[in-house]
């Protein structure tokens, strides 16, 4: 349209001159004030263009339509140019102001307070999530427990040599009451209450009377129990392999080593291939390429006897792991005691 207008304006050199001068002034206005002055001068009531348009009635009749049309077109074009120029000047002024509002972007941001969950909690939840995903429920039970559930019903009668390995805290004034030394007693409590199939894990605090660089008197275990028809050692192996891969990475392997626990038979200890050296051997795995992570086995028929399950009808597996150990391996924590010092410089790292 502008080019078209310029061509048409050739028919009226006076108007063309007025237009060219006004357009140049608008384009040259470097500030909003200069632009306003140009508007008054070239488009205002007293401007040459306004005067020319006002003079149209006095023009010869033959000229009037052409001058009227071209004059109004020129005015519209100039007003458009004016608006465009104003927008450009405003934008430039804004940019200039923003450019001056510089702050130090290297200073730290607002510390929206964010606390951390204890590493034990994070690890527990991770373990719980893996097993709930496999179809397990989470069971809980008392920490102040009877000798019966902690030992006897787990095929560890009084006088059993395994008892002396437990460093048990006993409760004053209540014979046969103690702080549970593992979360296994909850196995028995669950089986007493429910018929098979049972698929549960049991996380929680446990206690042993031992305190040094590698022992704290309280720590955490997760126990697992699956009882159903046709549960096999192969199922135990597959379940723990699934766990190890979820917890420590898909490339991890597990291996079972025969062991002894009173309440499982056969019993095994389970190693995971070392996540630090990838199994090649390093200091953490004592050059073996394997790290022990848990104990497990098929539920001993004697334990089923205590809860009136028929070992000819059902079989089961159980496993137990130390949560601190898992967290230490996964996060490279070197001192067990740090979990219970609760120093925020420790807690905030995870």
């Amino acid at each position: 349209m502008n080019i078209d207008l310029k061509g048409q304006l050739k028919q009226h050199p006076g108007l063309a001159a007025i237009y060219e001068e006004a357009a140049a002034a608008i384009a040259a206005a470097g500030t909003e004030d200069a632009l306003e002055a140009a508007r008054v001068r070239h488009l205002g009531r007293k401007s040459e263009l306004s005067r020319l348009l006002r003079a149209i009635p006095e023009m010869p009749a033959a000229e009037r339509p052409l001058v009227g049309k071209l004059g109004n077109q020129a005015r519209a074009a100039l007003e458009e140019a004016m608006a465009g120029r104003r927008q450009a000047l405003e934008a430039a002024a804004l940019e200039e102001r923003l450019a001056q509002e510089r702050i130090d972007i290297t200073l730290p941001g607002e510390p929206f307070p964010g606390g951390r969950l204890h590493l034990i909690t994070q690890t527990l939840w991770e373990i719980e999530d893996i097993f709930t995903g496999l179809g397990y429920r989470i069971a809980e039970g008392p920490e102040v427990e009877t000798d019966y559930y902690n030992f006897t019903a787990l095929n560890t009668p009084e006088g059993h040599p395994a008892r002396s390995l437990h460093d048990t805290f006993f409760i004053e004034g209540e014979a046969g009451v103690l702080l549970r030394t593992h979360t296994s007693p909850v196995q028995v409590r669950v089986m007493e209450k429910e018929d098979p199939p049972v698929y549960v894990i049991i996380p929680g605090r446990v206690y042993r009377r031992d305190s040094d660089a590698t022992h704290t008197p309280m720590f955490h275990q997760v126990e697992g129990l699956a009882v159903d028809e046709h549960i096999t050692m192969a199922d135990l192996k597959g379940t723990l392999e699934a766990f190890a891969k979820s917890m420590f990475g898909a490339e991890r392997q597990i291996r079972l080593r025969p062991h002894y626990f009173p309440f499982t038979e056969p019993s095994v200890e389970v190693d995971v291939s070392c996540m630090i050296c990838g199994g090649k051997g390093c200091r953490s795995c004592k050059q073996s390429g394997w790290l022990e992570i848990l104990g497990a086995g098929l539920v001993d028929p004697n334990v089923f006897g205590f809860v009136n399950y028929d070992p000819d009808e059902v079989s089961g597996f159980a496993f137990g792991m130390g949560v601190e150990r898992i967290a230490m391996l996964k996060h490279g924590v070197t001192d067990l005691r740090m979990f219970y010092d609760n120093d925020l410089r420790f807690i905030n790292q995870f």
């Binding site: 200073l107 929206f112 307070p113 964010g114 606390g115 951390r116 204890h118 909690t121 719980e128 097993f131 995903g133 496999l134 429920r137 989470i138 008392p142 102040v144 427990e145 009877t146 006088g159 040599p161 395994a162 006993f170 409760i171 004053e172 004034g173 046969g176 702080l179 199939p197 698929y199 605090r205 206690y207 009377r209 305190s211 008197p217 309280m218 159903d228 028809e229 046709h230 549960i231 096999t232 050692m233 192969a234 199922d235 379940t239 392999e241 079972l256 080593r257 025969p258 062991h259 002894y260 038979e265 056969p266 200890e269 098929l298 028929p301 219970y340 609760n342 120093d343 925020l344 410089r345």
Partner: protein, 806 residues
């Protein structure tokens, strides 16, 4: 259990290197803690530098009185060696360390000039070879030692040692022979026979006439065997025996004691030798200790015995704590000539209890407490009698005591191959089952469709089919079991409502800037005093540990606050000033007449530092009551619940700046500033706000699943009003009155300002409320809102004496 490899190889023909053997043991159920090395370092040809030499000539050293100059035949060559010892003569055979040889302590010997004379090696003492703690001179070897031969081929002075962790069900493996049997089974190597053979007694006397032996308590002592060896000579043991014991980590004492230890280590039966001359009345009785009896054991400890403990007593007093440790008075020593040799079988549980009660563990008690094979009794006596007469001289006196309640009856069970497959998830062929069990010492024969399995005396741990399944699994190879998941799995996993709520609350508090701590569940007995609990406060009644590690960890907590304050104080002491922490843990409340206590989950926390975190823009407000209450509100909101408050009655909180929390009329917790005296008792020098809410209370208040309410289709109208009321009027009363009067259009009334000051006069305050009116059915008209507002103002004026602030 330390098993020197060369000792092991006396009983099993196994060729595997130590590391491979250890790997095989580990994967079949015998954990190898480490492989260590005893005696002379191996490798780098070191063992070739220790040879047997014969002293050809001894001359005085030209420049030193105490040294001699020896010429030593080392087999084909003669070495000149300077020696400081004088306990040998020309013709003696001894161990020669040639230049470059490295001793067990890491010292390396080089050829050197000693006082101007060249010495091409060293004549070794037992202590230098690691066979004894101290030696008076060099080691003199017997005449049969082949001159020029390597020492290591003659004496076990360099050995790889398997350090095994034997599980408590396998006391048979607490012996070199037991481990050999295991190794034979898992490697298919040949097992040699047990090194037990009887020797002929000599003489026309009889031990049964010379001494009197009896068992007064057969339940604690199922078998008791004694033999008499007369005329022994107590001396240090020969070098081979010392080397064996040293490699096993046992300290050589004298020949007789060393032999009893050697027998124990070889076949697993602890033994004891009494000096017969020091046995009063020449009688031994296995009986329970009498109250008040004492004994000084061979380690020098004075032990007070309890009536449940089994002792071996002579005619006057206890001479041994049965199966645990012998007494000093009757121990075999330098002048002993006649020894009563004891091998017995004691009740495992009794030994364990005695050992625990006395705090005294020994190689003997750790074996007996696991329950030993009774058949070891005659075997140990025969083996020891042969070795003693060979090494210490003397003669085995005819006759013996072997007192037992009943003879050993072998156990038996059966196994079905299909049961093995059903439990392991892999098929093990019947022939392989047979082979595995036979190699382990079981007697297997066909019986119906399965196998009848006779259990040997040394495997009392095997009683049932499942025990055999374990034996098969571990020898067959757990690595051959294919992994699978339970085939019938039809369970649905997930969290309970309470577990889910716990997680939500923990995430909420962490999201609000609190760090989670996990503190011990036990606290110190002084907590009640530090918290200023009243004498009749039920929280003083805590579950107490009978055997706490320390007074600070002696009670199970009945309240979380002490744990929170201790954790906060520890952090503040470490200059972790933003110690805003929480814990979700249990409190333990004893129940009258019940064995077990109540264990209730509690969400507790305390705020000691800035709520904003340290920032160059300022640290934000310090925590106060309202900060704590805001967290409590957030927790209840998280579970779609709510609570009521009342001024606190807790003695450990600020009486004016704390509240008790109620759900359905029951107190479920508290929140507020901690009493300054309590803070002082926990060494905290800054204000602390604490909260503690029973998880059950939070859950009880929950309205459950959130149900949609339409706040979107029709807009709300907002009005602000300020009313002047008495200064101590609770804001909650103002809101309650407004709520009643504004119903049903008033949706909420929120306090947005509190003002006290000269503009409204003393004793008064202005409460500014933001009122939100809405209807779920329509947009409200101005007239409706105005009239509802007027009703609210009127009610506040009439019921609370409020006046509208204009």
């Amino acid at each position: 259990m330390k098993v020197p490899l060369s000792w092991l190889k006396e009983y099993v023909d196994v060729d595997l290197p130590a590391r491979e053997l250890a790997g095989r043991l580990a994967l079949t159920g015998t954990e190898v803690e480490r492989i260590s090395h005893a005696g002379l370092p191996a490798g780098d040809g070191n063992l070739n530098r220790f040879v047997i030499g014969r002293v050809v000539a001894i001359e005085p050293h030209p420049n030193a009185d105490r040294l001699s100059l020896c010429r030593v035949d080392t087999g084909g060559a003669t070495a000149q060696i300077v020696c400081g010892a004088s306990n040998f003569k020309e013709g003696d055979r001894t161990a020669v360390c040639q230049p470059g040889g490295m001793l067990p302590d890491g010292r390396r010997l080089e050829a050197a000039e000693i006082r101007g004379v060249r010495s091409e090696g060293m004549l070794c003492s037992e202590s230098e070879l690691g066979l004894a703690a101290k030696s008076a001179g060099i080691m003199i070897l017997p005449e049969d030692a082949p001159v020029g031969g390597r020492l290591v081929d003659y004496l076990p002075v360099s050995d790889d040692v398997l350090e095994l962790e034997i599980t408590p069900n396998r006391p048979d493996c607490l012996s070199v022979y037991g481990v050999a049997r295991e190794v034979a089974a898992i490697t298919g190597s040949r097992l040699r026979t047990m090194p037990v053979c009887d020797i002929k007694p000599r003489g026309d006397d009889n031990v049964e006439e010379l001494v009197s032996i009896s068992v007064a308590d057969p339940s604690l002592c199922p078998r008791y065997g004694v033999r008499l060896i007369a005329g022994v000579k107590i001396r240090p043991s020969p070098a081979w025996l010392k080397a064996r014991l040293a490699a096993a980590g046992l300290r050589p004492v004298n020949n007789v004691v060393d032999i009893t230890n050697y027998v124990m280590w070889t076949i697993g039966e602890p033994m004891h030798a009494f000096d017969m001359a020091r046995i009063a009345g020449r009688r031994l009785t296995a009986r329970r200790a009498a109250a008040g009896e004492e004994i000084t054991t061979i380690d020098g400890g004075r032990r007070r015995l309890g009536a449940a403990m089994l002792v071996i007593a002579d005619g006057e007093k206890p001479v041994a704590i049965a199966g645990v440790m012998g007494g000093q008075d009757s121990e075999v020593a330098a002048g002993t000539t006649d020894i009563l040799l004891e091998a017995a079988n004691f009740d495992g549980r009794s030994i364990m209890e005695t050992s625990m009660a006395l705090g005294l563990r020994s190689e003997s008690s750790t074996r007996f407490e696991k329950g030993l094979d009774q058949e070891l009794v005659p075997q140990a006596l025969a083996m020891a009698a042969r070795l003693i007469t060979q090494i210490a001289g003397g003669r085995l006196v005819p006759g013996q005591f072997d007192i037992r309640a009943k003879p050993f009856e072998g156990g038996a069970t059966h196994i079905r191959p299909e049961r093995v497959a059903a439990l392991l998830g892999v098929t093990v062929p019947a022939a392989e089952i047979r082979a595995i069990l036979s190699k382990l010492g079981f007697k297997v024969k066909k019986e119906g469709s399965g196998l009848h399995v006779g259990v040997p005396s040394f495997r009392a741990d095997v009683e049932r089919e499942i025990d055999l399944v374990e034996e098969i699994a571990r020898v067959f190879g757990l690595e051959l079991i294919p992994p699978s998941l339970p085939s019938g799995m039809r369970a649905i996993g997930g969290l309970t409502e309470k577990q889910a709520a716990t997680r939500r609350l923990a995430r909420l508090l962490a999201g609000r800037g609190l760090n989670e701590v996990i503190t011990y569940s036990f606290i110190g007995g002084d907590f009640a005093g530090r918290l200023r609990l009243g004498d009749d406060d039920p929280r003083r009644q805590a579950v107490a540990l009978a055997n706490p590690l320390s007074a600070e960890q002696s009670l199970m907590r009945t309240i979380m606050l002490p744990s929170m304050l201790m954790s906060a104080a520890a952090n503040l002491a470490q200059r972790n000033f933003d110690a805003n922490i929480f814990e979700i843990g249990r409190v333990y409340t004893p129940l009258k007449g019940k064995k077990l206590c109540d264990e209730n989950e509690v969400v507790a926390g305390c705020l000691c530092g800035s709520l904003r975190g340290p920032s160059w823009r300022g640290n934000g407000p310090e925590p106060d009551f309202y900060a704590g209450k805001g967290l409590v509100e957030a927790m209840f909101k998280e579970l779609s619940g709510w609570f009521a408050v009342d001024r606190t009655r807790e003695p450990f909180l600020h009486p004016g700046k704390a509240a008790d929390i109620f759900v359905d009329g029951s107190c479920v917790g508290h929140v507020g500033e901690v009493h300054p005296l309590v803070l002082r008792a926990f060494d905290i020098d800054r204000p602390v706000v604490a909260f503690e809410v029973l998880l059950e209370g939070l859950i009880a208040s929950s309205k459950g699943i959130a149900v949609f309410e339409d706040l979107i289709t029709y807009p709300a109208s907002f009005q602000d009003i300020s009313v002047i009321v008495d200064e101590d009027m609770p804001a909650a009363d103002v809101i309650a009155v407004a709520g009643d009067a504004g119903a049903p259009l008033l949706h909420s009334a929120r306090v947005f300002d509190i003002y006290t000051g000269s503009q409204i006069g003393a004793g008064k305050k202005s409460v500014a409320l933001n009122l939100e009116f809405r209807s779920p059915q329509r947009t409200l008209t101005d007239a409706e809102v105005d009239s509802a507002r007027a009703l609210i103002v009127q009610a506040l004026e009439e019921k609370l004496g409020a006046s509208l602030r204009l």
